[in-house]
Amino acid sequence: MVVIQVQDMTKTFNGLRAVDGLSLEVEQGEIFGLLGPNGAGKTTTIRIIMDIFKPDEGTVRVLGQPPGMAREHIGYLPEERGLYRNLKVMECLAYLAALKGVNRSQTAQRAGRLLASVGLEGQAQNKVQALSKGMQQKLQFVATILHDPQVIILDEPFQGLDPISTEQIKGLITGLREEGKAIVLSTHMMNQVERLCDRILLMNEGKRVLYGPLEEIKRRHAPHTVQLRTPATLEALPGVACVQRHGDTFTLTLEGITPQELLRTLVERNIPVQAFEVATVPLEEIFISVVKERHYG
């Protein structure tokens, strides 16, 4: 089921097109990566989905409704975020949850469990300002999902977190996907995107540059490289321009043949194949190459 639908959306600030004819769909039960360099238009896109900004053109639907009508079903962790430092943790959570339509008793039940899941058990009655920066980051994540939203939008959720806290948050995010929530993840941390996201959209200068399932995009950008594991010693193979060996694993760069044709050759020559995989390029490389290509032709 599509939970977020954006169609030909445009937003201009002072003559500058922050978002230019963008279309995307986010489905229930997936983690959707919204990527792009600084100033690509990611935050503007998110703010329009959250009804903080109005689009100049195009349509946006969240859970089948115009933005703003589904606020209570969306959890939003903005990049520019903070908490009421003078309030106690539970007071702060109760207020933010109440604005999402959750009463105090429901908040108390869910908050206890969620605080424990990020290692903040026992902090409910402490003031927010008494928590470390990392703890406050985790508390913000708890506040984002406290009202059990169907759609969760996370803008740089791992910013400022140590590796252990990052793992805790990642665990929660994948758990939410298992529960059938739709998660939009905007981040610069490509390694996290590769490990978490099902589909991605790469934006540059307000436009959609890449869009689709992550694995498919990665393969599409590395069609000429194959990883082969074999105990045999490889001799010259037709259509293979370069061979790199790492133990019993070879990385083969193809020229003029497809991976299927290489596999057929290996079988015909009785070379034992223990593993054969069309190699993928790290997302970061794809990101850089696509953005550079757009910038410099």
């Binding site: 520019e80 903070g82 109440a98 604005l99």
Partner: protein, 411 residues
């Protein structure tokens, strides 16, 4: 509406616990009680002492009568007034502290009305000589001694002796300069407090918005509520906070007025004119609405608390103009400038709150200023909420006047 109520409740509960609010709210009744305590310690002398402070009378006054209208001095005035043959002799007596002031009546006094007043060190008592009851009586008695009956002369010297009667207070109505001073000063003081409340409450709004913006809570809030709901909730919550403060002050002043009656013999006219009280609350509400929305917008525009406060100073200064005119208002609460400012939306609330207890304000000014405010409020709300919304998400850069105008044009 539910979310507006939630925000209002949150703002109220957070601000009511602020030390600044608690201190300010408690301080006013405490100072009143302290004043009464001091009065009680001094017993019956307090009233006399305060009367002297409010209406000081020189004890001995020298007179050099170059015209001859006040010579010889009538027996009724000989205790206080002493005649000198010339200015030199009078000055010498003043230097020797035999008299505390010297009046020189020139030959053209009847035409010009001018009398030279000499005092050793200037001071308040010399400055208010023209208003001194005994000096007035001295001149009226001597100028009209042969033509007018003594009772009528006394009435001419002091045409009215106001007797303020408080229906709530028990006991005999009292009279005297202290009573007069209290009847002017207490409502004026309460008016100033009411105006201060407008600024402290809208100041909390300014501070709250600036804090939420600098601590980056604002975008989290905007994911749950609209900018309009956020502003409306804050205005309602902090307006209620201001009313709480005013109610506590009025209730405590009313309670303390019983003590003032017993100790000082003065009826404190807190609720002596209910229409003034009701209208003051109306102007408070209208004034708070205008200033709170402006403060909210300004709070959203600033990139830091200091910057927001600097921007807010423009509006605070405008609203403080009526307070600066306090001196003129005492002499003529219905003067043209005061009336003009009563019709200008940004000064009308504070001007009218100050004016109402001091005089009978023309009905046209009351109706006119309320209508002007009611018409101005939707405009301020519209523009304020647009600027508020636009300013909330601008970090690091304060919008220029051109940016603000563009926001309003695009709205």
């Amino acid at each position: 509406m539910g979310k507006i109520w939630l925000i209002a409740r949150h703002e109220y509960l957070v601000s009511v616990r602020r030390p600044g609010f608690i201190i300010m709210t408690v301080l006013v009744p405490l100072l009143g009680a302290l004043g009464l305590l001091i009065a009680a310690l001094f017993g019956g002398q307090a009233s006399t002492f305060l009367e002297r402070q409010f209406a000081p009378e020189p004890e001995h006054i020298g007179v050099v009568d170059q015209l001859g209208c006040c010579t010889p001095i009538l027996p009724a005035h000989q205790e206080r007034f002493r005649s000198f043959s010339d200015e030199k002799a009078g000055r010498a007596a003043l230097e020797a502290d035999e008299v505390t002031a010297l009046l020189v009546i020139p030959e053209d006094y009847v035409e010009s009305g001018q009398v030279m007043v000499f005092s050793k060190r200037g001071g308040f008592s010399a400055a208010v000589m023209g208003d001194s009851a005994s000096v007035r009586a001295f001149f009226v008695d001597h100028l009209l001694r042969d033509e007018v009956d003594p009772v009528l002369r006394r009435r001419l010297a002091e045409p009215i002796e106001p007797v303020f009667v408080s229906l709530e207070a028990e006991g005999e109505p009292r009279r005297g300069p202290l009573n007069t001073a209290v009847n002017i000063m207490v409502p004026y003081f309460l008016s100033v407090l009411l105006i201060m409340t407008i600024f402290t409450s809208s100041g909390y709004l300014l501070r709250g918005v600036a804090e939420e913006k600098t601590s980056r809570v604002i975008e989290i809030l905007l994911s749950s509520v609209t900018a309009w709901e956020l502003l409306a909730g804050k205005v309602l919550g902090l307006g209620a906070l201001g009313l709480t403060q005013v109610t506590i002050w009025l209730a405590s002043t009313n309670a303390l007025s019983g003590g003032a009656m017993n100790l000082l013999g003065v009826a404190v006219p807190v609720l002596a004119r209910p229409e003034v009280f009701v209208l003051s609350v109306v102007y408070y509400a209208l004034g708070f609405l205008i200033y709170a929305v402006l403060m909210g917008a300004v709070g959203a525009l600033g990139t830091s608390m200091q910057e927001s406060q600097q921007l807010a100073g423009i509006f605070s200064a405008m609203a403080a103009i009526p307070l600066m005119l306090g001196g003129f208002m005492f002499s003529n609460p219905n003067m043209t400038l005061v009336r003009v400012l009563s019709w200008f939306p940004l000064t009308a609330p504070t001007m009218m709150i100050l004016r109402l207890p001091m005089a009978k304000v023309p009905l046209v000014d009351i109706v006119g200023s309320i209508v002007v405010l009611i018409l101005a409020i939707p405009t301020v709300l519209w523009a304020g909420s647009k600027v508020f919304r636009a300013g909330l998400l601008m970090y690091g850069k304060r919008p220029s006047v051109a940016d603000i105008l563009r926001v309003l044009r695009q709205a």
